[in-house]
């Protein structure tokens, strides 16, 4: 029993020490992928938007992409979140929408070139709107927050050797209720490289 307790003390000391040191390892982030997303192309043009005060506070430790784009005849609000330095700032978008008072009317998985995304139909007071989101590591797109958490956790456990950081991308139409996601992907294929 004494040996067991000594072993537990050693395990605890290692857990505390390694845990403290681990967080200082500089994991490569997705900032370059955000910078590489063009502001204009053949079928689209966009501009950066500044963060508002509560966003600056909430996202202070993470890379955020917040832009307005016109893709074809769609005006879209596109955000991307890179949780490399604060994984907890990236939530399940549906959870966030509901927390913000939106009611989910429907959700549908839609196919993407290398996976899938989730198309939501939401209602808030009298406003009905669609939103599209997916998680991406620059190579695959997927809609599962569970997969995101597992992938992000495994990346941290392997000090980044498992692959690039998955990021959350959200697209919302500004002036229409419905989002033509096929036209978005055809007109703005660079978005999939995020």
């Amino acid at each position: 029993m004494a040996k067991t307790r000594i072993g537990l003390w050693i395990a605890l000391a290692i857990a505390i020490g390694v845990g403290l040191v681990w967080q200082f390892y500089p994991l490569p982030d997705a900032a370059q992928r955000f910078r590489d997303l063009p502001l204009y192309g053949k079928n689209y043009i966009g501009r950066n938007l500044p963060l508002v005060d509560f966003e600056k506070e909430y996202f202070r430790n993470i890379n955020v992409l917040k832009r307005l784009y016109q893709v074809g005849d769609q005006h879209l609000f596109i955000t991307a979140l890179d949780g490399t330095t604060n994984r907890h700032a990236v939530h399940d978008p549906l959870y966030c929408f509901r927390g913000a008072g939106w009611e989910l009317l429907s959700e549908k998985r839609v196919p993407m070139p290398h996976g899938d995304a989730m198309l939501l139909e939401l209602k808030h007071e009298d406003k009905i709107q669609q939103a599209l989101y997916w998680f991406s590591n620059g190579q695959n797109e997927y809609a599962s927050p569970l997969r995101y958490w597992l992938e992000a956790t495994w990346r941290r456990l392997t000090l980044g050797h498992s692959g690039p950081e998955p990021v959350l991308i959200m697209v919302q139409p500004l002036d229409k209720q419905n989002l033509d996601w096929t036209a978005l992907i055809q007109g703005f294929p660079e978005l999939l490289k995020l």
Partner: protein
């Protein structure tokens, strides 16, 4: 009494790792009563100590607590950190079969519960939370009464 120090140290470490819990309870409508679920869940421990029973030594649960909290810390996954705290607290009691229900029922106070129950109305989530905590706790209390511990 000197042998109690490792239990205190592990609980302190796991509590530190799970220190986001109050923020999660306060900031998430579906987890607003998570603190009550945790209080209910801890009743077997409180009653055990009120009865001044000899402390059970549970190196397996303590080891699982350290491992779970450590992996949750470096992997940045709250559910592992919360699970570590559950294991650390459970290690204060002697092993018993109802623990197989009671320890998992700790999920009722973890922030992940709110996500798993996200499609249910708020009232249902709260009922489920308290109900699950009560189920595990009642089984433990009945077992403690039967074994007179």
């Amino acid at each position: 009494m000197a042998n109690f120090w490792i239990e205190i140290a592990v609980i302190a470490y796991c509590t530190w790792q799970a220190s986001d819990l109050p923020t999660a309870w306060y900031g998430t409508p579906s987890m607003r009563w998570g603190w009550l679920a945790m209080l209910i869940w801890c009743l077997p421990i409180l009653i055990y100590f009120i009865r001044r029973r000899p402390l059970g030594s549970n190196p397996l649960l303590l080891g699982m607590a350290i491992l779970s909290s450590f992996l949750g810390s470096i992997g940045s996954l709250h559910i592992l950190q919360h699970l570590g705290l559950a294991f650390a607290l459970a290690a204060l009691l002697p092993l018993s079969w109802p623990m197989l229900i009671w320890v998992p029922s700790a999920a009722s106070w973890m922030s992940a519960f709110g996500w798993f129950a996200r499609f249910y109305p708020l009232a249902i989530v709260i009922v489920l939370q308290i109900g699950i905590a009560l189920l595990g706790t009642c089984l433990m209390l009945i077992d403690q009464r039967q074994r007179k511990v």
